[in-house]
């Protein structure tokens, strides 16, 4: 056997387990920070002509009556400031206050989301996630009805999908705790795109397992799964690589405004590729073995 992937399955489970445990711990400690799209408020992107450090900005904002605001540095002397819902007048005052302290500034972007719109957005995003979950479940049921044990294959694909989501959400909880990154609409969009992408990968691998099983070679299930993985390995990796190249280009050259979105995609694609190779097919093997083990025990 050239590569023994299946034989290392417990290491793969361990790695995933540790990553997810860290994520879940962070979720329990920090939780997730909701962006203004979901929780209402104002967001301001300000660029300063002179050098400004985050600590000084925080202090000045506190002096202007905005204590405990979230500040994220998004470029050279450019900051994203998350504020309560600001009226036009309050915004003008704030700008004047900051100009007086730090010199000329430019408000590059300013958003206001009212509680009504935020509640609507959060609700519809939740509905979209639910519908997407149902749609993908239906697709999985359909895609695996040809498989020998459709329920097994479907369940393993879903576990892989939950795995990817947990990794991405966990990572954002850590980023939220450390760097004040927030969950916004584009995060949800990115997660959904990644889930669709990861299920595709899993389907390609499972498809090959099915094809090899149908050939009817007299080798163990474990060997069939391993062969299928090796055969599809370069395809899975190459596809993920080309997509990762584009995501990295997006992250490095477009930067700040799309940064959170690109990072969701980056983490999601890596997690998705990993789970479709190292989690879903391995679970299939464990499940099959476990059943046989029980049957033999009787």
């Amino acid at each position: 056997m050239m590569f023994d992937i299946v034989g290392k399955r417990f290491w793969f489970f361990l790695i995933s387990g540790v990553v997810i445990l860290i994520g879940v711990t962070s979720l329990a400690t920090f939780g997730l920070k909701a962006g203004i799209e979901f929780s209402s408020g104002s967001m301001m992107t300000v660029g300063f002509e002179q050098e400004v450090d985050q600590g000084g900005l925080r202090k000045e904002l506190a002096g202007l009556g905005y204590a405990n605001v979230i500040i994220q540095s998004v470029g050279e002397d450019e900051f994203l400031i998350r504020l309560p819902e600001l009226s036009g007048e309050a915004k003008t005052e704030l700008e004047a206050g900051l100009t007086a302290r730090f010199g000329a500034l430019e408000v590059r972007e300013f958003d206001i989301v009212s509680p009504m719109v935020a509640a609507e957005t959060a609700q519809n995003a939740a509905i979209a996630v639910a519908i997407a979950a149902i749609g993908i479940l239906l697709y999985i049921t359909w895609a695996f009805h040809r498989m020998p044990n459709p329920f097994h294959y479907g369940t393993c694909a879903i576990v892989a999908l939950v795995h990817d989501t947990l990794v991405a959400v966990g990572a954002f909880s850590i980023l939220g705790g450390l760097l004040d990154w927030e969950i916004n609409l584009m995060f949800v969009t990115g997660i959904l795109a990644v889930i669709g992408y990861s299920v595709n990968n899993t389907v390609v691998v499972f498809d090959r397992i099915r094809e090899n099983l149908l050939k009817g070679e007299r080798v163990g299930f474990e060997v069939v799964v391993n062969n299928s993985l090796v055969e599809t390995l370069s395809r899975s990796l190459n596809t993920s690589l080309t997509t990762l190249f584009m995501v990295l280009a997006l992250l490095l050259f477009v930067g700040a405004s799309i940064q959170n979105f690109a990072v969701v995609l980056l983490i999601g694609i890596i997690a998705g590729t990993y789970s479709s190779l190292c989690i879903a097919p391995q679970l299939l093997v464990v499940w099959k073995k476990g059943r046989r083990g029980k049957a033999e025990g009787r």
């Binding site: 430019e106 972007e109 958003d111 995003a125 595709n200 498809d207 055969e231 190459n238 799309i258 995609l265």
Partner: protein, 448 residues
């Protein structure tokens, strides 16, 4: 078979030429005014959603009132000189206003949704609550009783025929006329203030300032009934006010429930950076494909150029309004577009290893990869459909919808280019002497 292939190749070339004609010429701007439509986040601008408070109206009157609000907002925006403003009703009580290019000031933005442009005030007593405060004192709204109800005097009682005029000494005057209700209120209020108390004039939260920078608050000498004048204004202010006053009054108060303002400089940066990211990404993907799949990779890269032109042409034809997230979706789809090619090439390699001739391997590779290509894009299409719905159902819709649409177009076109273009190119090569050298297709084959 070869003849059919040549025909397909010619058709593909024609499609490519057409796509190129639609996308080019680049010098007039690939993106921007004459090229692909850009969303507000890329060209800069203001996107506001107002909610009207319709509680004071009967259900039968609401629709008409909303149409009225839309018309008046249009009247107020037009004199500001915004190019291509968009004013749309949304749902039963909302109005969306999109102003590209950010050509209005914060103050103008605020004045858009004010029910009345001007409000009048009188000095408040010590124990009374004040709405405005300035160097002339503390002010409360000037009110009078009409029809048994206490009403505030504002410019909503002006007739929509204000005009500018010069008095004998050349001073600028803004002349206005009260409507019926306004006359009664004005009569009562000015009667009470005359002959020595001031009447303050306010615009929003601030006093109306004269040319000299001082608040305008004339002393009422005598009772004003039908018509009045405001003096001391600068010419720009006077012209602006007159236009706004004549634009009409909003039948109901408006509340801003969503506001996104992007500076045009930031937007143009995004476009430049996205193009750069896209180009660098494409080049890396092409290099990778050529390195890994050799001749097939070269053909896949050609297919990728075809793909880019076709997607751009579709963006322009549909037309798709491109947002930053949309650009992200497009850039992401380039990476995914290669997937179909990768599936096919891997299959071809396997078939070659199994000892088939190149022609047979290509045919078998395409046929066997097709189900995997189809299946593997289904979930992306499902997700795109759901995201599009999500985008259409919420106020901050542009990014999500843009992403869904561009990703969908990108993946759909990628299936077409892989199956039609890459296949045709590959089959054309089979007929050439190059085809004898299978190592061009898979570097490792010869060594094993």
């Amino acid at each position: 078979m070869p003849r059919r292939n040549t025909q397909v190749f010619i058709v593909a070339l024609i499609i490519f030429a057409l796509a190129a004609c639609i996308v080019l010429p680049v010098e007039e701007g690939l993106l921007g005014k004459r090229g692909i439509r850009l969303g507000l986040d890329l060209q800069g601008g203001i996107h506001i959603v107002y909610r009207a408070d319709l509680s004071s109206l009967e259900s039968g009157e609401r629709d008409g009132a909303m149409d009225g609000v839309k018309e008046i907002l249009g009247n107020r925006i037009n004199p500001m000189g915004v190019t291509e403003p968009l004013i749309q009703r949304q749902g039963s009580d909302r109005i969306v206003v999109e102003l590209p290019g950010l050509s209005i000031t914060d103050k103008e933005k605020e004045s858009l949704s004010r029910v009345a442009v001007l409000e009048f005030g009188e000095l408040a007593a010590e124990d009374e609550e004040a709405r405005w405060e300035n160097k002339l004192g503390r002010w409360k709204p000037a009110t009078a009783v009409f029809d048994g109800e206490e009403k505030e005097l504002t410019s909503r009682y002006f007739r929509e025929n204000t005009y500018l005029d010069r008095d004998n000494l050349g001073g600028l005057r803004l002349i206005f006329e009260w409507d019926e209700e306004g006359s009664k209120l004005s009569e009562e209020i000015t009667g009470r203030l005359a002959p020595d108390k001031p009447l303050g004039i306010f615009e929003g939260n601030e006093a109306l300032l004269g040319e000299d920078g001082f608040p305008i608050a004339p002393i009422v000498r005598s009772t004003i009934v039908d018509r009045g004048e405001i003096t001391g204004l600068s010419l720009t202010d006077a012209e602006r006010l007159s236009k706004q006053l004549n634009a009409g009054r909003l039948p109901v108060p408006l509340e801003i429930i969503y506001d996104q303002t992007v500076s045009p400089i930031l937007g143009s940066d995004f476009v430049e950076m996205s193009i750069k990211a896209g180009l660098i990404g494409i080049v890396i993907v092409m290099l990778f494909m050529i390195f890994y799949y050799r001749l097939s990779g070269v053909l896949a890269s050609l297919a990728l150029v075809f793909y880019g032109a076709l997607v751009m042409a579709l963006f322009k034809l549909i037309p798709v309004t491109l947002t930053l997230a949309g650009l992200g979706g497009f850039i992401l789809s380039i990476g995914m577009a290669v997937d179909a090619n990768v599936l096919i090439f891997e299959r071809i390699k396997e078939e070659l290893r199994a000892g088939r001739t190149l022609g047979a391997a290509i045919e078998a590779g395409f046929n066997r990869a097709w189900t995997a290509i189809r299946d593997s894009n289904v979930t992306t299409f499902i997700v795109c459909g759901i995201l599009y719905w999500l985008g259409s159902s919420i106020v901050a819709s542009a990014p999500v919808m843009g992403f869904a649409l561009t990703l969908f177009i990108g993946v759909a076109v990628s299936m077409f280019t892989a199956i039609v273009v890459t296949r045709t190119l590959l089959l054309l090569f089979v007929a050439t002497p190059l085809a004898q050298r299978t190592r061009l297709f898979s570097p490792h084959l010869g060594r094993k």
